[in-house]
Symmetry: C2
Subunit: 316 residues, 2 copies
Amino acid sequence: MTNQIFSQTQAEFSLIDWIAGQQLRHRAEVKLGIGDDAAILSAPGFEWVVTTDVITQGVHFTAETAPELIGRKALAVNLSDLAAMAATPCAAFIGIVLPRTYGRQSVEQLYHGLLEIAEEFDVTIAGGDTNSWDGPLIISVTLHGLVAPDSAVRRHGARPGDWIFVTGALGGSFDSQRHLKFVPRVKEAIALRKTVNIHAMLDLSDGLGSDLFHLLNQSRVGAILEASDIPIHADVTQGLSEEERIRHALGDGEDFELLFCVSPEAGKRLQEFSPVAVSLTKIGEITLQPAACLRYRDNIQALTRSGWSHSFSAIP
Amino acid sequence: MTNQIFSQTQAEFSLIDWIAGQQLRHRAEVKLGIGDDAAILSAPGFEWVVTTDVITQGVHFTAETAPELIGRKALAVNLSDLAAMAATPCAAFIGIVLPRTYGRQSVEQLYHGLLEIAEEFDVTIAGGDTNSWDGPLIISVTLHGLVAPDSAVRRHGARPGDWIFVTGALGGSFDSQRHLKFVPRVKEAIALRKTVNIHAMLDLSDGLGSDLFHLLNQSRVGAILEASDIPIHADVTQGLSEEERIRHALGDGEDFELLFCVSPEAGKRLQEFSPVAVSLTKIGEITLQPAACLRYRDNIQALTRSGWSHSFSAIP
């Protein structure tokens, strides 16, 4: 961790000092934040849940994306990973590589987007490293959350007969720019965790048709999804055929909704009284047979790990 | 944290699964490592010390640098930050952005370099995120170390009269490629911490003439350095004048040696019986007056934050 000086035509300023000055609150678990060789975290009686995600220009955003939205997304994708473990976000470390052409105003806008969502989720920026170079913009975030000992929700506990739920609706995230503005399901995950025993959970980043396999493989089970039950987001173009719209929901990716498995009894309780404001939809069930299938208009097709494009095209 | 699939002409392989398979040991504090949405760290009675450093092609290494050395350096610079706090390294998270042209062999070489130094310092790779893009190579590492509560060595405790020491010798790190092969002073920092009360410490990444100011500013003190006492590395070209060689030692950077302050009594003890194999050299003393000065051939010159180049040129 270094206090890199960010050179400008007119002035020099320490980006790290500036960020430290922007933060009004500071979580108690961050015993030492920005300014030394490293930060110090302290939280007796808890476990730290840690995730890292890198977002890059040309892949996760474009040269035209507003800096505020880039900063927001860099933290939001990590918040989504912690939501998938039902952890409470706490402290973030920001590694950033700036194009040399990036002006101070753009950097401040980027950090304003980042700090705004940090404040919204009570996250302290505890440290970072800033460099500049001749290439495009890259942001790497490492986010720390807390859980009570042994209470993080893993991917590996799905059982045959479990009901499979998703929060919200899927598809069209890229084209609509929703991937820059989504609300990570942190509060929802914690509320669900308090209400029912969640056997397995993850967040949908690559797309339901692909992420589902992480959960199935780690749980050593299979699944059958009901195509007509998959909630299709209003962002998916309305004029398309039903089949095309389901393809988008399965394969577009960057939904950042939660996919989780609970017992049928717990599933019924969630359907009767949901602890969250966002919609919860049962989209299928876990099977003993370790294969992923999709039922569509009374045809059952195999889903493959490579996603919807190869498997789903076989559906009549 | 996502299990990105790394596409190859002939085969696909999960880089994250491959890395997990390469690790023979797993630290007890890493309760859950690679494979879920996030990792879980657990260490009751300790504090976590966390640092992040990003290294980029064209800045910290070149397109010609051997991948093993790039991987090694990415972890080594973070190990050096933890050394500066006298923390015991424990768990690393690796964010990596690969050029699309990067073959599987190069990626494996890169990780072999990284895993080798990880094993040497008993660090578990606990998670990561791998992407590829059209740009050059970038590696972002977030490293977690442990300290007993309230025992991390900070930058802010230097006191007037303290003696200033450096480990090893300075200068010529870039030209000699030492910046790719240096040994982070982790063991030395812990041994020193056990032997004496270290008032303040940091690692030299930008160069003595520049990093010194972080320590002085945070401690609200000044310093007078003895130019002729600064240990000049054998990597600095021998044919140069003494003044030129001192400039290199002050300004080249990437030494990754420790700069630390102790009481004169503790300093004498270190000179009489050093607990470390690497050389320890007293290079100056802390002053009440908050300015940094350099004594050279009976002239005292002001050092400025912008380094040696502007200030030192005034020396006759």
